[in-house]
């Protein structure tokens, strides 16, 4: 499904080039549940951004479902993010002015789904994450765990094959964190490929495959039996 080969990403900071990723190669099969671990500054966020088509590698080849990503235009990348990838962020990143339901509908706006159908598609997902009673509440009226569930419902509304979660439990208390992790692992069991970026050992323990990143390189890639 995903094939990274020799990915490098450098940023230019004034006069110097800073290499954040160097020679990263990995592949992901459909249905995997992967944790990407590493200390801050290791490059795991950059790796995540590249996997999520928010960023392009400086060199190397990234193939997503057999499409060469670096050759695509901004609009084509936007369309892949819209349809193929669901994002869950540490800080939830909900739109503050909109209700939970409206937030879940946002990706559908950009895939030209008519307003009436958007509602019909968003409501079952909010039910699935257990928030049907609070769907008209705004993010500020929801707890952290509830906001993250809205974010998961939003990530799934276009039924993407890949779910990318960046520290999804980082801002949550342990109980909500476990609930969110349960939801994510359940989704994986239903066939969604999931990649979680985390530095929480407890989160990594629930993933079959753990990739460790340090200084812009993969130093360990283990699959538990």
């Amino acid at each position: 499904m995903i094939d990274l080969s020799n990915i490098t990403r450098t940023y230019r900071m004034g006069e110097v080039d800073i290499t954040v990723l160097s020679g990263v190669s990995m592949s992901v099969q459909k249905g995997e549940l992967i944790a990407i671990m590493g200390p801050s500054g290791s490059g795991k966020s950059t790796l995540m951004n590249i996997l999520g088509c928010l960023d392009r590698p400086t060199s190397g080849v990234y193939r997503f479902e057999d499409r060469e990503i670096s050759a695509l235009t901004d609009d084509e990348l936007a369309s892949i993010r819209n349809v193929k990838i669901g994002f869950v962020f540490q800080t939830f990143n909900l739109l503050p002015r909109f209700s939970a339901l409206k937030n879940v509908e946002v990706p559908l706006i950009y895939s030209n789904v008519p307003a009436s159908q958007r509602r019909q598609r968003a409501i079952p997902l909010l039910k699935q994450v257990g928030l049907e009673e609070r769907m008209h509440h705004k993010p500020t009226e929801l707890s952290g765990g509830q906001q993250q569930r809205v974010a998961i419902a939003r990530a799934l509304v276009n039924h993407p094959p890949l779910l990318l979660a960046d520290e999804p439990t980082g801002n949550l208390d342990s109980r909500s964190g476990v609930e969110i992790l349960n939801i994510i692992t359940d989704l994986n069991k239903q066939g969604v490929t999931v990649i979680i970026v985390t530095h929480d050992q407890n989160v990594a323990a629930r993933c079959k495959r753990v990739i460790e990143v340090k200084d812009g390189q993969i130093i360990n890639d283990t699959v538990r039996a």
């Binding site: 928010l54 936007a78 993010r81 819209n82 990143n93 739109l95 706006i109 895939s111 939003r154 276009n158």
Partner: protein
């Protein structure tokens, strides 16, 4: 992303910040209002002038001594080498110019009018019976000047209503004798009340037969001859005919000028058109300032919503979706401001003449359309830069923005 959806998103953004949106719109509202109001005042003046000029009578030609090279405009009758226009010239026109319905001679000057111990200087018009007809000024009581009065240089006088009231009050003036510059004149009539026209009090005049007037002012020339044609289409041919007849009498020299009412209207409208354009232009500057206000607020708005832009991009918004969202927001601000500005401007343009009678206004469709188009254009022009700035945000940077 369809248009309606973009519009809804933009509208929600505007409503979520009511005070700021309102103040931003105020700039456009004032600009559009000013354009409409000032253009209405300029056009009101134009309509007023047109009405007043045509109110003098239609299809008029004014023949004055002296030649000017330009058509239309006002110029004093020149003295000296120029041959005068005489009463006989007007008679010749009346006799030979068959295209004309009237050719009315006119002398014009001031005289001291006195009745008992009241009196003052007064505008005096010396003319013939047809003057009533060409200028739409009619007698109210008594008689007007007759041809017999003109032929016999009769010492009779007709008073405007203002003069009558001043000298006689409620007393019946008919048959009374007044002195006009040391000559005695008998009052035979009082004019119908007409009011002011182009700043001149038409009722503050007295009329005498043209021949008596010439004697009064000690001249044998005329101030002008007012001629009229039955139809507007005849004006050009009538000019040729007048020239032909008068030049034969003036040793084949064109030492007079003929002004048409149309030319006068054209000149006045030309001046007022420039005035209106200048007023509209000044108001347009305030609309431009309003547009800069929109750009300013949109830039703030883009910065404030950097994170929202990042989220939307991560969820699949293309650059043009973001661009459209902010463009429509800017255009809605200017568009709604424009509509409110039109309502306020038209409202004021209709209300002002009720309270300030000297300020006639005329609201025209084109000024409304122009003001609205301009305000919408301002929205587009000043919305593009902030919207582009929003659209070209790097999603990763935008997501990290606090």
């Amino acid at each position: 992303m369809n248009f309606l959806e973009t519009f809804r998103v933009a509208f929600e953004a505007i409503l979520s910040n009511k005070v700021r949106s309102g103040l931003t719109m105020l700039g456009v509202i004032i600009g559009v209002m000013a354009v409409i109001l000032l253009v209405s005042i300029g056009q009101g003046a134009q309509v007023y002038i047109t009405k007043e000029l045509t109110g003098m009578g239609t299809n008029l030609l004014v023949i004055q001594p002296g030649k000017t090279s330009t058509r239309g405009g006002f110029h004093p009758p020149s003295a000296g080498t120029v041959r005068k226009l005489t009463y006989d010239d007007s008679l010749a026109l009346r006799r030979h110019a068959w295209l004309l319905t009237d050719a009315v001679p006119l002398v014009f000057g001031t005289g001291k009018i006195k009745y008992q111990n009241m009196g003052r200087d007064m505008m005096v018009i010396g003319t013939t019976p047809e003057f009533q007809r060409v200028r739409n000024l009619f007698i109210d009581t008594g008689n007007y000047i007759t041809q017999g009065d003109v032929d016999s240089k009769a010492k009779i006088i007709i008073l405007g209503t203002t003069v009558k009231e001043e000298l006689f009050g409620t007393e019946n003036p008919l048959g009374k004798v007044v002195t006009l510059s040391d000559a005695r004149y008998r009052v035979v009539g009082v004019m119908r009340k007409k009011g002011t026209s182009l700043g001149m009090d038409i009722d503050d005049l007295v009329y005498v037969p043209v021949t008596s007037g010439q004697e009064l002012f000690d001249t044998d020339s005329l101030f002008e001859i007012i001629a009229s044609t039955p139809r507007a289409e005849d004006v050009d041919r009538a000019i040729v005919q007048i020239k032909d007849i008068l030049m034969r009498r003036h040793a084949h020299k064109e030492d007079f000028s003929i002004q048409t009412q149309g030319a006068m209207l054209e000149t006045m409208n030309g001046i007022l058109g420039v005035l209106t354009a200048v007023l509209g232009g000044i108001a347009g500057i305030s609309l431009l300032v309003g547009g800069i206000g929109i750009m300013n607020i949109m830039l703030v708005s883009v910065r404030e919503r950097t994170r929202e832009i990042g989220i939307r991009k991560a969820l699949g918004a293309r650059n043009k979706d973001i661009m459209a969202q902010f463009m429509i927001e800017a255009m809605t601000l200017s568009g709604v401001g424009g509509i409110i500005g039109i309502l306020v401007g038209v409202g004021l343009a209709l209300i002002i003449p009720v309270f300030v009678t000297v300020l006639p206004t005329s609201v025209s469709a084109w000024s409304i359309i122009m003001a609205f188009t301009f305000s919408a254009a301002v929205g587009v022009f000043f919305g593009v830069y902030p919207a582009r700035k929003a659209a070209l945000q790097d999603p990763i940077q935008a997501l990290r923005y606090e």
